[in-house]
């Protein structure tokens, strides 16, 4: 068996098993499609409702990728600031933690008031949700650098900034990328929340909005949209694994498999 196949067959087998059980359950229980559509109906909706779903998906994918990029930049910048300045740590960290408790719809109206019905309010929401895991893992990574390495740099007359750039930042990179993977998985649901909380006027409001509309009248299509988000999260997770291989090859452990 080839290696990629060896890696994915357990997940494939489990998926097939779960879909089979789902199909069987719907058949036996006689549940209505509006409550729980059977997998074959979802597949049908995916196939036939394609155009709308894919165009909306393109909107959502753009939001997730851009929002995540902003979250990464913000998370790294804030983590560096917190690491370098005890004052900033005391000032910023508690607020960052608290920000995660803010129900997004509360600020939805304000975001639309500031930035309208375009992509920008969505990006802000996604970034707000996603920066936090990056921030926490990066702060920990920056603090976990080998103190002997810093000592060595001091004997070589490195400045505080050089020690940060040459040792602390690269040492924290794998942790930051782990944070990015967590951020990514919450980022997809973040896009959903963003689309629901801040309306769009265009013809394609994004997959999240589409799902919310479909859930009452075209339930199989809502599930089809969900399946797309499911696959998208998985694909992004893998892509980030490849990025890590490029950016931090020293941190790849032999057993560091990604799902």
């Amino acid at each position: 068996m080839s290696r990629p196949l060896a890696r994915i067959w357990p997940a494939l087998a489990l998926t097939v098993l779960l879909l089979g059980a789902w199909e069987l359950y719907v058949d036996l229980s006689g549940l209505e499609s509006a409550v729980l559509p059977a997998p074959h109906e979802v597949a049908n909706a995916l196939w036939n409702g394609g155009g709308v779903l894919w165009r909306n998906f393109a909107v959502t994918a753009e939001e997730v990728v851009l929002g995540l990029a902003i979250a990464l930049a913000a998370g790294l910048a804030l983590a560096s600031l917190i690491h370098l300045s005890p004052l900033a740590r005391r000032a910023i960290y508690p607020l960052a933690v608290g920000s995660q408790a803010v129900p997004i719809p509360v600020i939805g109206v304000l975001l639309v008031f500031w930035w309208g019905f375009g992509i920008l309010p969505k990006l802000v929401v996604i970034a707000l949700i996603c920066f936090f895991p990056v921030l926490v893992t990066t702060v920990d990574g920056l603090g976990a650098v080998d103190p002997d390495q810093l000592k060595l740099l001091r004997t070589l007359d490195a400045s505080r900034w050089q020690a940060f750039r040459l040792a602390e930042l690269p040492a924290a990179l794998p942790a930051a990328l782990s944070g990015a993977r967590i951020a990514l998985t919450v980022g997809v649901i973040g896009a959903f929340i963003a689309e629901v909380a801040t309306p769009t006027t265009g013809p394609y409001p994004g997959l999240g909005r589409q799902i919310m509309t479909d859930i009452n009248f075209q339930t199989p299509r809502a599930y089809a949209g969900t399946a797309i988000l499911f696959a998208f999260a998985l694909a992004c997770f893998h892509a980030l694994g490849l990025v890590e291989r490029k950016l931090a090859p020293w941190s790849i452990r032999p057993r560091g498999e990604t799902p």
């Binding site: 080998d146 002997d148 390495q149 000592k151 060595l152 740099l153 001091r154 004997t155 070589l156 007359d157 490195a158 400045s159 050089q162 040459l166 040792a167 690269p170 040492a171 990179l173 931090a248 090859p249 020293w250 941190s251």
Partner: protein
């Protein structure tokens, strides 16, 4: 107190150093322990002449590493006076940075001093041949053997351009054969480019093979039990009866100190 040993005929008397590069005067260092203060060093007086290689031997935990960090100004003495020309530390573990390749690690001090990347790499890379490392310029530290890593760490210390090199058990982690090779190599490297060296080791033979003088430290709190001047001609061979006699002598002194 220095003890003159019989010099083989024809060997010139060692040149008396002018101004010492390193001077420790009744230096004491105390750390806070779990059960009250622990004295690491007590009344250490040591003077190392410019161009001299001072080997320091002592039992584990006698404060040898503390001694080097005092010389490198990474610590301050609690009592007494420590003065040294600018000193670079080669730590016990090579502490190569895993995110840099071999040349970049060797060139670390040059980069810190502001030498442009290309020039720093070229200068460090040019020395790889002499170290038997040609072809490994771009290798990452984790791809290299322990001996190679130590040589790169030594090159990094050497390229710092500091007149005093503090080597903390540089070959302690190596197997016997590699260690013997490295000792020979170090003797050659220092003959080609003389520096003042403080070599901390618990390998008595190594101290005698490489040192101009050997300082024997007591168990903690470390103080100098004896300084032995080694006037044997170089290159020295470990099988030389004179080397073996000195070894016995140092070991006896260490054993007496342990009582």
């Amino acid at each position: 107190m220095a003890i003159e040993l019989e010099r083989p005929p024809g060997t010139p008397a060692p040149v008396q150093p002018r101004r010492p590069a390193v001077e420790l005067e009744r230096v004491g260092r105390v750390f806070a322990g779990a059960e009250g203060p622990v004295a690491a060093l007590r009344e250490i007086t040591l003077s190392v002449g410019t161009g001299e290689l001072m080997a320091v031997v002592g039992p584990s935990g006698c404060g040898k590493t503390t001694l080097l960090e005092l010389i490198c100004a990474l610590q301050e003495p609690d009592s007494g006076r420590a003065r040294s020309a600018p000193a670079a530390l080669m730590p016990q573990h090579d502490l190569l940075l895993p995110w840099m390749d071999a040349v970049e690690n060797a060139a670390l001090a040059l980069r810190i001093a502001g030498v442009p990347r290309g020039e720093a790499r070229a200068r460090a890379g040019a020395l790889f041949g002499e170290l038997g490392l040609d072809g490994f310029q771009r290798a990452r530290p984790q791809e290299l053997s322990g001996g190679m890593r130590q040589r790169i760490a030594f090159l990094r210390t050497l390229l710092s351009g500091k007149p005093v090199l503090c080597l903390d058990e540089p070959f302690g982690a190596l197997d016997a054969i590699t260690r013997a090779e490295m000792q020979e190599w170090l003797a050659g490297a220092l003959a080609a480019e003389p520096r003042t060296v403080i070599l901390v080791t618990h390998d008595v033979e190594e101290a005698i093979l490489l040192g101009d003088r050997v300082a024997v430290l007591s168990p903690r709190p470390g103080r100098v039990l004896e300084e032995i001047e080694i006037t044997l001609a170089r290159p020295r061979r470990r099988t030389d009866p004179a080397v073996q006699a000195l070894r016995e002598r140092v070991l006896e002194r260490l054993a007496e100190g342990a009582v």
